[in-house]
């Protein structure tokens, strides 16, 4: 089976009020593929007036949509899931072309997981109920959940369809209308989805605006006509969005990345068995999705007694990673999503080396053969210490930094010596460590004897500067709703105060 670049139209507008419309100013930007820098298509370069048009549509639709039954909304979410599933290969190809990741990942991870998130929230909203408490014999407290209204969502470029599928379903399931802005680097799959589901929701319920952050993202995030903003991205933009939200007294949820530790204790090497093999793979997970994952396990911490032997196996496994054309089903690691990422990663390789980190493998761009025109970085392992900048900053590339630790206390000290707290990995055969180490790590998701699994129904979100809010779980529903409390008296008698 071999794949090639999918076909696109010449240009795409915004999806507003149930149909594709040209940007009001008539401007478009060119989108290219990081695989070879070839032209994909032109997408709308929206301005404030386009955002306002989308907000008009969403605000006009919110009353009726907010009053639909959970049954109806769930059924429409399931319909979207079915449509993505029926067109799985088409979505996977478009995603690979736009983002540069391998077709193996889009076929088996991005798109199937997206399908499942739509279904998960369809089932959540059907299964839940409100609450009522009899506070005393005459007084009932009843809690009814109501939608917030209109949600602004700004999503990143590393998993374009999947990030959309983390954010849209809970907002829609709870009866909100949405204006979503995909990252300008990856507008394709959101557009394809709107083409496929154009008639599923009533007009105005889902609106997609393309364009640049300062021109389209900022007017959306700062508008007084949105009731909440959900954002995945970096810290400075996160701060700005929270500032704008403070002017409107709006709630926000933020997912802002991490510098996740992946900890390997001595016991993993007690046997040379399937579990050790899994641990080696767990360490190499840093290369998954070219390292462009908020939870990239970008710091490997290995206990000193096994350090040399363990790292020898990790380096060997890393060197076996196949980096080739992402359309090739054998490709394990594709292209970085854009030139600026590619340049940024290389500047980190440079400062890492200058700070004294030792390159155990990789350490440079890959310009071999057909990769020459794309943005490819060889999977890289840097050995050093936790105060180096490469250990502290999110490189967002296939670059992992490794260091050793003496005991549990030192492992925890290094693991928690970071500004962030999104993910972490703990690998051990010791039953006590299995529980106690994860509890002591300041991160929202600790994978224990596994890594990079993102199933629906396991809450995901950050501690510290990684943000707040918990996605992928029914608890996300409460981030998109008000609680209406009705306090009802069944007492016929007055209080006697007046």
């Amino acid at each position: 089976m071999s794949y090639s670049k999918p076909k696109f139209k010449e240009s795409y507008g915004n999806f507003i009020n149930g149909k594709f419309v040209e940007p009001i100013g008539g401007d478009y930007f060119e989108n290219t593929s990081p695989i070879d820098q070839s032209f994909i298509a032109k997408y709308a370069r929206s301005q404030k007036e386009d955002v306002e048009a989308a907000l008009d549509a969403a605000n006009a639709a919110k009353e009726a949509w907010g009053n639909t039954s959970a049954t109806e909304r769930a059924s429409l979410l399931n319909k979207v899931a079915d449509i993505i599933e029926e067109n799985l290969e088409e979505f996977a190809l478009v995603e690979t072309c736009d983002n540069g990741k391998s077709i193996r990942e889009t076929l088996n991870a991005d798109v199937p997981l997206s399908v499942d998130h739509w279904r998960y929230f369809a089932s959540c909203i059907r299964a839940e109920e409100g609450s009522a408490t009899e506070l005393d014999e005459h007084t009932l407290s009843m809690n009814i959940k109501e939608p917030l209204g209109v949600i602004g969502q700004i999503i990143p470029w590393n998993f374009p369809l999947l990030m959309l599928s983390w954010k849209l379903p809970p907002a829609l399931a709870t009866g909100n209308c949405v204006v979503l802005k995909p990252a300008e680097q990856t507008p394709c799959s959101a557009t394809l989805l709107m083409e496929k589901i154009a008639d599923v929701f009533p007009p105005g319920v889902v609106n997609i605006i393309h364009g640049f952050g300062p021109e389209a993202g900022k007017p959306l995030a700062s508008s007084s006509r949105v009731d909440k903003v959900a954002f995945t991205g970096e810290t400075t933009t996160g701060q700005l969005i929270m500032q704008y939200a403070s002017k409107n007294l709006n709630p926000v949820t933020m997912e802002l990345g991490g510098k996740s530790p992946n900890i390997f204790f001595n016991s993993v090497m007690e046997e040379d068995d399937a579990f050790l093999d899994k641990c080696i793979e767990g360490a190499v997970m840093f290369a998954f999705n070219q390292g462009e994952v908020c939870t990239c396990p970008s710091r490997i911490l290995v206990q000193e007694e096994i350090y040399d032997k363990f790292m020898e196996r990790v380096v060997e496994r890393t060197e076996a990673i196949v980096q080739t054309n992402p359309y090739n089903p054998n490709c394990m690691i594709g292209a970085q999503a854009s030139n600026d990422q590619y340049e940024k990663i290389q500047s980190y390789l440079k400062i890492g080396k200058e700070e004294g980190a030792k390159v155990l493998c990789g350490g440079e761009a890959n310009k071999d053969g057909e990769l020459a025109n794309g943005f490819y970085i060889k999977p890289t392992i840097l050995e050093g210490h936790n105060k180096m900048r490469v250990f502290q900053e999110e490189i967002f590339g296939p670059v992992v930094c490794v260091t050793k630790f003496k005991d549990e206390a030192e492992a925890l000290e290094i693991a928690n010596d970071t500004l962030y707290g999104l993910g972490a990995g703990v690998w051990t055969r010791d039953a006590h460590q299995l529980y106690q180490i994860p509890r002591a790590i300041k991160a929202g998701r600790v994978w224990v004897n596994c890594y990079h699994a993102y199933p629906a129904h396991a809450p995901f979100g950050g501690y510290k500067k990684s943000g707040f809010g918990r996605e992928n779980h029914s608890m996300m529903l409460s981030h998109y709703r008000q609680t209406k409390n009705m306090l009802i008296s069944y007492d016929k008698n007055k209080l006697g105060f007046f």
Binding site: A183, T232, E234, T237, Q341, R389
Partner: protein, 111 residues
């Protein structure tokens, strides 16, 4: 010596942005996606306080970084450059099809 510098081609972009937007500030971002990159905003767009460290002025624009992040960066000298690319943040140069980027080196005694 200042701990921060800017290349000529990056300075040209800063001056172009000043003409359009007026007074500007740089703020170094952290975190995922387009993080770990400098962002440029209109002067009053971002709320700054004592938790933001002023590293110096480049092209007459002040460059700030959060104190927490600065603790891990303070032993390095930064040169702000420009490269082709796109970012999903609100940084003002993005519509020009370029992104500011940081080149770092260790501080020397002569700095």
């Amino acid at each position: 010596m200042p701990k921060i510098d800017i290349t000529e081609r990056a300075k040209t972009i800063v001056n172009q942005l000043k003409e359009k937007h007026g007074d500007l500030i740089f703020h170094q971002s952290g975190g995922c996606c387009d993080g770990s990159a400098p962002m440029i905003f209109e002067k009053d767009d971002m709320y700054l306080d004592e938790s933001d460290v002023l590293l110096g002025h480049i092209a007459k624009v002040p460059f700030y970084m959060n104190q927490d992040q600065y603790e891990y960066w303070k032993h390095t000298h930064l040169t702000i450059d420009i490269t082709e690319g796109r970012g999903a943040s609100f940084s003002l140069e993005i519509p020009l099809g370029v992104r500011f980027i940081v080149h770092s080196r260790l501080l020397k005694e002569t700095d």
